[in-house]
């Protein structure tokens, strides 16, 4: 593959690609996402490849990233028709191949409603998918993440072409600002404003960063995007770099996901080979390169200033942000950091425009949001819905409600620094500001259901235990304050609660909150605050029972 020298060459190459692709040819897409992989989808994929081999060009088998419906994995999607097969085992392979070649459907492997028995064959009819708007995740079953051509065939890098050839950096920036794209990593801060700060910072050398650390417990959508469709994030990053005037980018991600590393490394190499990274990208005169970095196994390295210290080769410890990292970040240069999902939204905003983007979502939160649905939910997986979607849709229509026939007690958002709200707030819309006000900020988008048997004191103790171990130790109030809170909570769960424990916890929450540098310490008490707001009687009863026993 020779380097593409111009936008015209890329479009010519794409046209040739599409001409050589036959959309009527059956293709079997086997999911290799984290959950399916854990259910041995690799064996299923190997069985499909072996069984399809004798049929040569008549059928294609593709290993892909996460499809979304992890609960029913290993997932297989057959095109044309997006026929969904669930819980596929190697033994099912010959039957699927035979049926696919004949244009038939294997009835026993399609979706059957557990309650009514109603069947759904096509993806658009399966209840889990039916209520979603899969702008970001939808391409996953259509892409082999190791092949840039698959991404190009779906129109990939067209937004980059548009930005480089028809828009000035200022116009790109304006479009993202107008789209009101808000950071998907937890802050919800407008990405366009952040970009502008870095763009306007006086230094010439600037950096852009993909935060793919995803340390939030029970959030797994960023991994699914990076592993399943790495070029989408890379395209967003290059466009952002062009708008900001950055010459270099960093992808910062987890060290413990071998498949993710393989796909991202390969994507960076292929993009460079095609001339989409490097000097004079597509003949535009814009130079940009991107480097891959790994975390060192600590939660706080997802915090922006800590992450940047880590890229410099230093221990990932947060620093005070009197000067923002968008002005002074990596090696004191202006550095714009956004989350994986935020970058993934950029190409479609440039391609379809801010007006299109703002037509989706709620008043103040635009676009779709990826949600990792897990806990005591019937249908666990990765869900994508427009902002503003009621939680009820997520929990019941998509999630199928609580597993094992139990009732819903609480919904938890945002991992260890999030919060829990009671089941009766189920009609609240998914919205950055609204959920924060309720005390359960969306965070990165990990949504957990907790059933009637969940011990809310134990949940708070567990979360505090997690954070205590993840504190970098730099700020004494964080390191010691959380240790004290953990001690009190552990006491309560062991029946050794004492009168005044709640007040003591509230004091500690306040001090730790105001006197810690980064969000880890500042918001370490947030889960507890939500507990005291909605589940205080449970705490009081446990403490009373403990004091009585003495």
């Amino acid at each position: 593959m020779p380097k593409l020298q111009s936008a015209a060459e890329l479009e010519k190459f794409r046209a040739k690609l599409l001409a050589n692709r036959d959309n009527t040819k059956p293709c079997i897409a086997v999911c290799a996402g984290a959950a399916c992989d854990g259910l041995d989808s690799a064996t299923v994929a190997a069985a499909f490849k072996a069984a399809a081999a004798p049929f040569g060009d008549r059928i294609e088998v593709r290993t892909t990233g996460c499809h979304g419906y992890c609960e029913r994995g290993p997932n297989v999607v057959v095109t044309p028709g997006d026929i969904c097969y669930f819980e596929v085992s190697p033994a099912d392979v010959p039957e699927v191949i035979a049926a696919t070649l004949k244009g038939e459907v294997v009835e026993r492997l399609v979706y059957h409603d557990p309650a009514t028995g109603a069947r759904a064959v096509h993806m658009a009819d399966v209840p889990f998918y039916k209520h979603q708007t899969r702008l970001l995740m939808g391409d996953n079953p259509k892409i082999d993440p190791m092949k840039i051509d698959d991404y190009l065939a779906l129109g990939g890098y067209a937004a980059l072409v548009k930005a480089l050839t028809t828009m000035s950096p200022e116009q790109v920036l304006d479009e993202v600002k107008k789209a009101n794209l808000r950071g998907r990593g937890g802050g919800g801060f407008p990405a366009g404003l952040k970009w502008e700060t870095t763009r306007n910072a006086p230094e010439k050398t600037k950096y852009v960063i993909v935060n793919g650390h995803e340390g939030e417990s029970a959030a797994f959508m960023d991994r699914a995007m990076l592993t399943g469709n790495p070029h989408k994030i890379l395209e967003g990053l290059i466009i952002g770099a062009y708008a900001i005037g950055a010459q270099k980018g960093f992808m910062y991600t987890r060290h413990d996901m071998p498949l993710l590393e393989k796909h991202v490394r390969n994507a960076l190499a292929q993009a460079a080979q095609y001339g989409l990274l490097g000097k004079n990208i597509l003949g535009s005169g814009f130079d940009f390169e991107c480097e891959l970095h790994f975390d060192v196994g600590i939660f706080v390295s997802g915090e922006s200033s800590a992450l940047m210290r880590s890229i410099e080769g230093n221990p990932p410890e947060p620093r005070p942000k009197y000067i923002r990292t968008s002005v002074s970040g990596i090696w004191d240069k202006p550095s714009n950091l956004n989350n994986v999902e935020t970058w993934a939204n950029v190409p479609q905003i440039i391609e379809k425009g801010a007006d299109w983007f703002t037509s989706i979502g709620s008043e103040k939160s635009k676009g779709t949001k990826l949600i990792s649905l897990s806990g005591h939910v019937l249908n666990s997986g990765i869900v994508e819905v427009p902002m503003g979607t009621p939680l009820r849709t997520l929990v019941f229509d998509i999630g199928g409600g609580v597993r094992d026939g139990k009732t819903l007690k609480a919904i938890h958002f945002g991992g260890a620094m999030g919060g829990s709200i009671p089941a009766d707030l189920i009609d609240a819309p998914l919205d950055f500001d609204g959920m924060s006000k309720l005390g359960a900020p969306i965070g990165a988008g990990g949504l957990l259901l907790m059933d009637e048997d969940t011990d809310m004191v134990e949940v708070a103790r567990y979360l505090m235990d997690f954070l205590t171990k993840e504190s970098c130790g730099k700020c004494v109030p964080c390191r010691e304050g959380m240790a004290q809170m953990l001690q009190i909570l552990t006491g309560i769960t062991q029946g050794q609660g004492a009168p005044g424990d709640i007040e003591r916890l509230q004091d500690l929450i306040e001090v730790t909150g105001v006197a810690s540098l980064c969000a880890l310490g500042k918001t370490s008490g947030d889960p507890l605050k939500s507990m005291f707001r909605y589940f205080k009687p449970e705490y009081e009863a446990r403490i009373a029972a403990g004091s009585d026993a003495k």
Partner: protein, 150 residues
């Protein structure tokens, strides 16, 4: 793991203090632990104080300062795994191997560690051995899994 491979990694980053974490992660990934003499080599080649190498290598969970067992056994203690019974799995692994979190047995067969979150929440709780995920685990299935490893 040959000395050659470690040397190659160190040479790649010679004179680049900012590549300290890169170098340590790569050595950890290939060698599975960081011997003290190797860290001295890294410090010399990358021109960083040994104390800084130790600061990173000793505090962060990615790195191990002792040799690991032939098989690495993990129990995910992420939030969903916790809600769905990770504590029971952990207790069972500890009972069967006699190891607590972070330990390696005398025969260097197993190293046991908890960790969160590995993102396979949909099949929680899970046990991971040498990177292979065993999803939807129950304590009574742990023995059969561990038996497969020698």
């Amino acid at each position: 793991m040959s000395e050659e491979a470690i040397n190659a990694i160190i040479e790649k980053y010679r004179g680049q203090p900012s590549s300290l974490i890169h170098a340590l992660v790569e050595i950890q990934h290939t060698n599975h632990w960081l011997p003290r003499e190797v860290m001295h080599q890294v410090a010399g080649a990358l021109q960083v104080p040994f104390a800084q190498v130790m600061q990173i290598a000793s505090f962060y969970k990615t790195f191990s300062l002792t040799p690991k067992g032939r098989h690495e056994v993990h129990v995910c203690t992420g939030m969903t795994c916790h809600l769905r019974g990770a504590a029971g799995l952990q207790a069972k692994v500890e009972e069967l191997t006699g190891l607590t979190d972070g330990q390696t047995d005398a025969d260097a067969k197993f190293t046991f560690a908890t960790g969160a979150c590995l993102g396979s929440c949909s099949i929680a709780p899970e046990l991971i051995v040498d990177g292979k995920h065993y999803g939807r685990m129950t304590p009574d299935k742990v023995e059969d899994v561990l038996k497969q490893y020698e």
